[in-house]
């Protein structure tokens, strides 16, 4: 008697677990001398951070106002994510590689740091950056290097660390900082406003089409530290810029907080495309460790015909909690949100967008793809708000969920508020489970189970991946494949 070989589920799981154990390939720790401000949060700590960074007075004042406001707030509880209370006094709010003064160019950057970024596949040496992508690398609390700076400067484009922008272009920072996400905005944005340490700053002047992708790479290395970066991108009238951020962190047993703020300002006829490939350490299979990714991202289409597009691929973090949003203020302005969020093991994601239609003939498009595997929980939460002034506003929303196990969860929470009768709002939602039939079909064509899963998942995400710059789309596909290793069952 002969029977089809069916491996025992436990044996199979054990094998899969061992493979998953080394699947987070970016989990190494860089052994580097760190300068760390003692843990805990107080006005004294904020003054110390501001002083270390040689900031102008207005910045310190702003931070302190934010901090005092934060003390009056309590952490929000409305989302679908669950986590133990965070002890904000146990976090180091500033950690920096100890290499003295700010490096002037790459030759002054600690070689150990350069090796770190090489391991991550981020070449900082300009001649290696063949793809023509300018990179700003943020290591824990400080920006360590920005490439292609001179070339961009010759075009009038400013692309530098936030700290440098505060020193070199304080008026621009002062004009726009907090103008999209005020320091009173929400618990985590307010905390960020008080303690943010670095991030990227971009200014593209009138009529300039930025000739290369701008990219920031964030890395959390230090133990028990939080990363609070702040990114501010301004596209002046008629300017165009495409910006990408990527992120990784070492594998650690404890949770680490990442509370970033990103503000985008698009003036008349300007276009900003912001892409994120988020791969913070997601924690292990039992849910130990991982990054809490509590981020506020918002773009303001401040002028007529302005265009802001968010594309995100979220595969990492223990908890992802973010809603990249667009304020469609200018007439005929447009906002887009394309998202793939994957939760495996014990990961949780509550993510979506807000599209606030204020101007006439404003348009927004939302395409959200949630993938849940293992015990993962994935929620889409999105607001489409059409104000009385937004005549002929249009929104199209599509939310699709793909379930890959019997223990995972997918939720959709659409909020729609329409106060203008000429508006058109469409919402479509689907939920599907990756089917044994589909898998058998593909396997009977010669594809391994893993290839079959990847093909189905890539097909599911196609509408989002095609929005990503080519090389990052390839990266995103690989990341998804790695994150889903052994996810079926």
């Amino acid at each position: 008697m002969s029977q089809p070989e069916v491996s025992h589920p436990d044996a199979r799981n054990a094998e899969l677990r061992s493979r998953i154990a080394d699947e987070y390939r970016w989990g190494f720790v860089t052994d580097i001398e760190q300068e760390v401000v003692p843990e805990g949060l107080s006005e004294a700590v904020i003054r110390l951070i501001s002083k270390k960074k040689n900031e102008p007075d207005f910045m310190l004042e702003w931070r302190l106002q934010a901090y005092r406001h934060w003390l009056t707030l309590t952490a929000p509880t409305w989302s679908s994510v669950h986590y133990p209370a965070i002890d904000y006094q146990a976090i180091h709010y500033y950690a920096a590689p100890k290499s003295g003064a700010q490096p002037k160019d790459l030759s002054e950057v600690d070689p150990e740091l350069l090796r770190t970024y090489e391991k991550l596949g981020i070449p900082l040496q300009e001649r290696e950056a063949l793809a023509g992508v300018a990179v700003d690398a943020v290591f824990d609390s400080v920006s360590v290097a920005t490439t292609f700076k001179d070339k961009l400067e010759s075009l009038g484009i400013i692309f530098c660390s936030f700290s440098e922008a505060l020193r070199e272009h304080p008026d621009l920072v002062r004009q726009y900082l907090g103008s999209v996400v005020p320091y009173t905005d929400n618990y985590f944005a307010t905390l960020n406003s008080a303690v943010f340490t670095d991030g990227s700053f971009v200014y593209v002047p009138k009529g300039m089409r930025c000739p290369m992708e701008l990219s920031t790479y964030f890395r959390i290395n230090a133990r028990n530290s939080g990363q609070f970066e702040r990114t501010l991108i301004i596209a002046d009238e008629g300017a165009t810029v495409s910006y990408l951020e990527g992120c990784t962190a070492p594998m650690r047993d404890e949770n680490q907080l990442h509370a970033a703020v990103v503000e985008l300002v698009a003036l008349k006829d300007a276009r900003i495309k912001y892409s994120t490939v988020q791969n913070w350490y997601p924690g292990d299979a039992e849910g130990r460790g991982g990054i809490y990714n509590f981020v506020t991202k918002r773009g303001d289409c401040r002028g007529d015909r302005a265009h802001i597009s968010w594309t995100q691929v979220e595969t990492g973090s223990a908890i992802t909690w973010k809603y990249p949003s667009c304020i469609l203020r200018g007439d005929d302005s447009a906002g887009e949100f394309y998202s793939v969020a994957l939760t495996n093991h014990r990961q949780q994601a509550d993510t979506g967008t807000k599209m606030i239609h204020i101007g006439r003939n404003t348009r927004s498009t939302i395409v959200s793809k949630g993938i849940s595997a293992g015990f993962g929980s994935n929620a889409y939460r999105g607001l489409v708000k059409v104000l009385p002034s937004a005549a002929n506003a249009r929104n199209y929303t599509q939310c699709d969920s793909l379930l890959m196990s019997d223990h995972c969860a997918a939720h959709t929470f659409p909020y729609i508020e329409v106060k203008n009768p000429s508006a058109t709002v469409e919402h479509e939602a689907t939920t599907s489970k990756i089917g044994d039939d589909q898998l058998f079909y593909l396997r009977s064509r010669g594809l391994s189970e893993e290839d079959a899963v990847n093909l189905i998942v890539n097909g599911f995400c196609r509408e989002v991946f095609k929005e990503l710059p080519m090389e990052f789309a390839v990266e995103a596909q690989k990341l998804l494949a790695v994150s889903l290793e052994g996810a079926i069952g």
Partner: protein, 254 residues
């Protein structure tokens, strides 16, 4: 090429196949006919490696291997192809993408090099022409929004590209108009070769007007109750299945 011996298969507690014996040699075309519920599709699925069926007795040898020990993808790489009765939709995945992944997977297994994009396209286009299919087929998502006939033709396209040693067609003819039927038949006839074999699972005789089988088997109640040459199919067309299956309540087809 294929030797099925005393094959017993159940789904849950329910026996479906109750002792199948079948030999298929290289170069042969076999038709497996029979009334609904006789186990035809189960046999096709078990040969392709579908999970959920319990083989309770018997054996299947294919090219000197224990076929039942192989995973579905291993069987595909060993040259078995099942054209599905109900092809699945894979949203967002272009046909061309699946064809290329499948072909390269099979080629790797055979120890051949993967085809680059240009060579692959040449190969596929020649197959499209053979099946009188439009190139736009390649760029549509796999079976998504396809009509019944298009789905079946797409199965034949996959078969033509993968060039299997043993092709199993599970009711590929059902629901096809006469033009589509001819297309399917020409796809199968083009594959005929002394080194290959075909198993046609079908309810009706009409496909066999275009693909002439070497052997015809009638399946009823999980057993082969009659085998013969192509004339058996014509006899069935005439008399229905009732005269071969006295112990069932199946209505004989007029």
């Amino acid at each position: 090429m294929l030797e099925i011996r005393n094959l017993h298969v159940s789904i849950g507690d329910r026996p479906i196949l109750a002792g199948i014996d079948l030999d298929v040699k290289s170069g042969e075309v076999h038709a497996i006919m029979g009334p609904n519920g006789s186990g035809k599709s189960t046999l096709a699925q078990v040969l392709a490696g579908r999970e959920g069926y319990a083989v309770t007795a018997g054996s299947v040898r294919y090219l000197e291997q224990d076929l039942l020990a192989l995973a579905p993808e291993q069987r595909a790489c060993a040259g078995i192809f099942l054209a599905f009765q109900y092809p699945l939709e894979i949203p967002g995945v272009a046909n061309v993408q699946l064809l290329r992944s499948a072909l390269n997977s099979v080629r790797r297994q055979r120890g051949e090099s993967e085809l680059d994009a240009m060579d692959f396209l040449d190969t596929v286009k020649s197959k499209l022409a053979l099946l009188d299919m439009d190139e736009s087929f390649l760029y549509r998502a796999v079976n998504e929004g396809f009509s019944g006939g298009e789905k079946k033709r797409n199965e034949i396209l996959q078969m033509a590209v993968l060039e299997p040693r043993l092709a199993i067609l599970d009711e590929t003819d059902s629901g096809l108009d006469i033009d589509a039927l001819k297309t399917v038949a020409s796809g199968v006839n083009a594959l005929k070769d002394p080194e290959r074999a075909v198993i046609l699972v079908t309810h009706y005789q009409r496909l066999l007007n275009y693909i002439v089988p070497d052997r015809v088997h009638v399946l009823a109640n999980g057993r082969i109750v009659r085998s013969g040459d192509a004339s058996l199919a014509l006899e069935l067309e005439d008399k229905g299945y009732g005269w071969l299956t006295p112990d069932t309540h199946e209505e004989a087809r007029p």
